[in-house]
């Protein structure tokens, strides 16, 4: 039998002797798992200072916030090579008549990066970059400590992200997405659309991504006040080969009004009517959908 992990509290043994069955089971389970967790020890002051100095000179994503100046929908100017099942889906696809994201449900990646109106803010610390996305009130945690992806990441709306610097470009690799994150798989041919439709979502094909969805985002400063994000989608159930989206751009705002704000989404009187596919406002009964 392997030795008990070092981080089991000493009084655990006392409890066992005292007949605490729960602790005994916990001890057995921990010991049998075979994962000897080393006790986590914070870095010394000097080590920590060195770690902060090491990240001090990376490109400046950090001042102020970033406001999207790109259209909401991706354009897919080069027709993607779709899988047969994706082609079948698109053949029968009826475009959304209205915004599919007017209520409080989080969008998740990749589409959350497309939503403008409210800015996003980067933070960094040794081993991690955090990206707060105000329009969803969520924060992406991007590991920069050199780790690999987990073998079986649990599904989440923002996935599991690891990143490294490729020169001045931050390359973020994400996987482990919940199956219902909002996913644009393409755009219908302009010829099939109504003339003069003012909706920025006209012709957008939303659909379900596959279980193996992986995103590689390349983020870099085009100039001191412009951030560019170029995303490549790896999804073998939708695209025969990875699809590279056109770059999106964000501008820096450093004024107080552009500081990040909380996003608590509490008012769900907007909802997409499943029978008509249209957005409705339940203005009489505000409790709708909460």
């Amino acid at each position: 039998m392997k030795p008990a992990p070092a981080n089991v509290p000493r009084n655990g043994a006392v409890s066992v002797l005292g007949g605490c069955v729960g602790t005994l089971i916990a001890l057995i389970l921990t010991a049998q798992s075979g994962i000897a967790h080393a006790a986590a020890v914070p870095q010394s002051k000097e080590e920590n200072a060195r770690a902060w100095r090491a990240i001090a000179s990376v490109p400046d994503f950090w001042q102020g916030t970033w406001q999207s100046v790109s259209p909401i929908a991706d354009d897919f100017p080069t027709p993607p090579e779709y899988t047969p099942s994706a082609l079948e889906y698109i053949k029968h696809y009826k475009p959304v008549e209205d915004s599919p994201f007017a209520n409080c449900k989080p969008l998740g990646l990749p589409f959350v990066m497309n939503i403008g109106g409210m800015p996003m803010k980067f933070f960094q610390s040794p081993g991690m970059i955090a990206l707060y996305i105000e329009s969803s009130g969520m924060t992406r945690f991007i590991h920069t400590d050199g780790r690999e992806h987990s073998e079986r990441p649990n599904p989440t709306y923002l996935g599991e992200s690891i990143a490294h610097w490729d020169g001045d470009t931050l390359v973020v690799d994400s996987t482990g997405f919940a199956q219902d994150t909002l996913f644009q798989m393409g755009k219908l041919d302009k010829a099939t659309l109504a003339q003069g439709d003012p909706s920025p979502l006209s012709g957008v094909i939303f659909g379900q991504h596959g279980p193996n969805l992986r995103l590689v985002e390349r983020m870099r400063l085009v100039d001191v006040n412009t951030l560019e994000l170029q995303t490549t989608i790896y999804d073998d159930s939708v695209f025969k080969r990875p699809y590279s989206l056109a770059p999106r751009r964000y501008i820096r705002g450093i004024e107080r009004r552009n500081e990040p704000q909380e996003w608590a989404c509490t008012d769900n009187r907007d909802y997409l009517d499943p029978t008509t596919g249209k957005l409705e406002y339940n203005v009489k009964d505000k409790a709708q959908g909460r």
């Binding site: 209205d98 915004s99 209520n103 920025p200 964000y250 705002g253 989404c265 009187r269």
Partner: protein
Amino acid sequence: MKHSNSTGKMQLKNLLVVIVALCCGSIAYAHHSFALFDRSKLTTLSGTVREWKWANPHTWLTVVVRKADGTDEEWALVGSSPNMTARWGWNAADIKVGDKVMVDIHPARDGKTIGELHTVFLPGGKVLADPGGQTGEALAGGATNLPTQPQGELYK
């Protein structure tokens, strides 16, 4: 009458703002309906505030309008998020229940008494422009060129 050149210029400027918003406004309508409201129309409501809800994803202004025939009509008006409007100089405390307001709205296409907020004219003279439909540059840049009076067709 005060129909001066400056009013004409102001109207032209506002028309330009509306045109820019319609042409290029695919950024900030993120959460809004794209089909319910007619953005080519601007209607002016004159009424009394019944409810002012400062909440995400949208603000809601409920206004009671007394019609020409003496009956009251309730209008539910959806505005941009508190986060967006705050960046354009709005404060939750600017609007109070009971306030007499003039509101420019984009009306519903189907004739329901709902609308999308465009500009609110408060009794003290303060003007709140909804940032919906503006470009990312305009959102980051803050509110400019506010109208001084309602621009829509008065609803009676």
